[in-house]
């Protein structure tokens, strides 16, 4: 009996010894060998390592009105397992009403088997509040950033947009993306089951650096007035596109810049690709007769002609073996250089260009900034095209004089007219007036690129262009109470074969006001207006429509009795 007991004890001892050894081995494995892995799993359960997004900077107009800002909007998510199956139809029904969506589709998503899913992202706040008030089980909200444009489509091309990845594209959003987006931070903390950071635990924080806020030179009032008039002109003319640029000639600040067709920066996904192109900055056209002002300015500056120099107009000019006609073949007889602008005589422009010579004309074209990017602080600027002088045929002296055979952007032409308006200095156009970051406000210093013409030449040109509006072809641009200087332009459209499209034109008006002491310079361009050669009338009507608003916003005192 005792022998049996001793045997049993030995067996039990062996069993316990084996179990103890196994347990000790397992403990050793857990504590020594698998420790890092187990520790990591344990830490992962409580530790969260988050990228803290930087707040994208706000974009304001020059008066402080918000043009673009980023706000956290609530996204609705569901944890279907927490919604009883018998209640899902009712939940889907209630959500369908508030979200304006088909309840069956919502129900289908709830029954999809997903553990967690978004039902609707970035809800309007009213809708989010209404859904929260229902206290439905298994639903929750997560805040996500959304770029908002309170003025909707106004200024779309100046602003650009932010894509789904958070990258700024086109306009200011694209050109200043690096400054606006800021630098994300990082937050590592241990969390309790309620997802709160543990007070006494791991905490590593690297705060984000928010993006800088930008104040633009754009005036929302002037921008809105320009867009209204451009829309009206395009609808009237059934034009394929158009643009308006308004500059402050005293420093090159862009007061308004619009382009049509346009887009909604909040809904770029459904926008037509062509509508994204900024026709004021990224599109070039032959300037036509608006170029004559630059030709005459160059010739006066070189003292090749004076405003009263005259020639006998027979309705055409022959240059390089080619005959270049006046519009509609009109012959004006004795004509002064001032009248060349008033009548927009092509033969007169050729006369002036001949007096000046090809080398000087080419030099002034470049000095006025044509053929070169203006350097405006917007994305995707086009340079326009001016062929090198070495490639000019003799006839090019004549055609360039009235704006054929070269192309410009509306912004380039506006900057060139601004040089005439301000006394002869070409300024680099700019859109961002200042940026504000953690170090304070940094104002943009206007850049005077070069003196193009003398102050005396500029004064003579202002008088001649004023006469063009008062007595000449641009009479329809006159605005009661203000002296206006300007010039119309009608240009043919080159086709792919190197010839011109038949009966298709680009109509434009370039001018400034008040003529004696200009505060605004503008270029209006309409692409393929249906009224063909009469498209300039609509361009001038657009100017007459927004100029009084722009001058009022600029606090410009009337300088003429109506």
């Amino acid at each position: 009996m005792q022998a049996v007991s001793a045997t049993r004890l030995r067996v039990l001892f062996v069993i316990f010894a084996l179990l103890s050894t196994t347990l000790a081995g397992k403990m050793t494995y857990w504590q020594a060998i698998a420790r890092p892995e187990l520790l990591s799993l344990a830490i992962d359960q409580v530790r969260s390592d988050l990228v803290v997004a930087a707040q994208r900077g706000v974009i304001r107009d020059r008066n402080g009105a918000i043009l673009a800002t980023t706000v956290g909007l609530r996204s609705l998510y569901a944890i279907p397992a927490q919604i009883p199956k018998e209640d899902r139809a009712a939940v889907a029904e209630k959500l369908g009403v508030l979200l304006g969506r088909d309840p069956a589709a919502i129900r289908e998503r709830l029954d999809s088997g997903a553990e967690w899913l978004y039902l609707h992202r970035r809800l309007p706040e009213d809708t989010a509040v209404a859904i929260a008030a229902l206290h439905l089980p298994g639903l929750g909200f997560q805040t996500e950033p959304k770029r908002l444009y309170p003025s909707d489509t106004v200024g779309a091309h100046v602003l650009g947009f932010v894509n789904d990845e958070g990258n700024g594209q086109y306009g200011v959003e694209g050109a200043y993306d690096g400054i606006l987006r800021g630098t994300p931070g990082r937050l590592v903390v241990e969390r309790d089951p309620a997802n709160r950071a543990l007070p006494i635990g791991l905490r590593e924080a690297q705060p984000p650096v928010n993006g800088a806020d930008l104040s633009l030179t754009i005036d929302l009032g002037i921008q809105t007035a320009c867009e209204r008039e451009l829309r009206t002109a395009i609808e009237k003319e059934k034009a394929t596109g158009g643009s308006i640029v308004v500059l402050d000639p005293r420093d090159g600040a862009v007061l308004a810049l619009c382009s049509a067709p346009s887009f909604d920066p909040s809904a770029v996904a459904i926008a037509d690709l062509e509508s994204l192109r900024d026709r004021a900055v990224s599109w070039a056209y032959e300037p036509g007769s608006t170029m004559k002002a630059l030709t005459v300015a160059a010739a006066i500056d070189q003292k090749a002609v004076t405003p009263t120099t005259s020639y006998y107009d027979v309705g055409y000019a022959i240059i390089g073996g080619r005959r270049l006609n006046n519009a509609l073949g009109k012959a004006y007889g004795p004509t002064t250089v001032t009248q060349v602008l008033e009548r927009s005589a092509n033969a007169g422009a050729v006369f002036v260009a001949r007096k000046l010579g090809a080398e000087q004309l080419y030099r002034y074209i470049n000095a006025f900034g044509l053929g070169h990017a203006t350097g405006v602080d917007l994305a995707a600027e086009a340079t326009g095209q001016v062929r090198p002088l070495a490639e000019w045929y003799p006839v090019d002296l004549g055609t360039a004089a009235f704006g054929q055979g070269l192309s410009v952007t509306p912004l380039q032409l506006a900057a060139a007219y601004a040089a005439i308006a301000n006394g002869g200095i070409l300024y680099r156009p700019y859109v961002v007036a200042s940026r504000r970051d953690a170090d304070g406000e940094h104002r943009t210093a206007p850049v005077a690129v070069r003196r193009v013409i003398s102050a005396e030449t500029a004064a003579a040109m202002r008088m001649m262009l004023t006469s063009t509006v008062d007595n000449g072809i641009a009479k329809n641009a006159s605005v009661p109470g203000f002296s206006i200087a300007g010039k119309t332009g009608t240009a043919q459209i080159p086709d792919a074969t190197g010839s011109y499209e038949s009966d298709e034109y680009v109509s434009s008006f370039a001018g400034f006001a008040p003529a004696d002491d200009p505060k605004i310079v503008t270029v209006i361009v309409l692409e393929r207006p249906q009224s063909r050669l009469l498209g300039t009338l609509t361009a001038m009507a657009a100017f007459r429509g927004f100029a009084p608003d722009a001058l009022r916003y600029e606090r410009v005192q009337p300088d003429r009795r109506p």
Partner: protein, 87 residues
């Protein structure tokens, strides 16, 4: 002597625990207030956007058109007489 030591250790442990508890409660309160602050900031940003929308000249012009208002055809300008130097 031993009793006093145990009492002291117990008191110190109690004090420590009360400090830790107070710290935890305070930190949770800070977190709650921070979340509240963030939500108020978000609400404020939404209100600023709403204000900008309501102030938008395009919106005001659209509303004016809907009300049947039209742009004034011509704005009468009044020019003051030249100032006369008083004798």
């Amino acid at each position: 002597m031993a009793g006093a030591s145990i009492g002291l250790v117990f008191t110190l442990a109690l004090l420590y625990l009360s400090q830790i508890t107070s710290l935890s409660a305070g930190d949770y309160e800070v977190q709650r207030l921070q979340a509240e602050r963030d939500e108020l900031r978000r609400q404020n940003a939404l209100l600023e956007v709403q204000l900008a929308r309501l102030d938008s000249p395009a919106r005001i012009e659209t509303l004016a058109t809907r009300l049947g208002l039209v742009r004034v055809a011509s704005v009468p300008l009044l020019f003051p007489a030249p100032l006369q130097a008083k004798k």
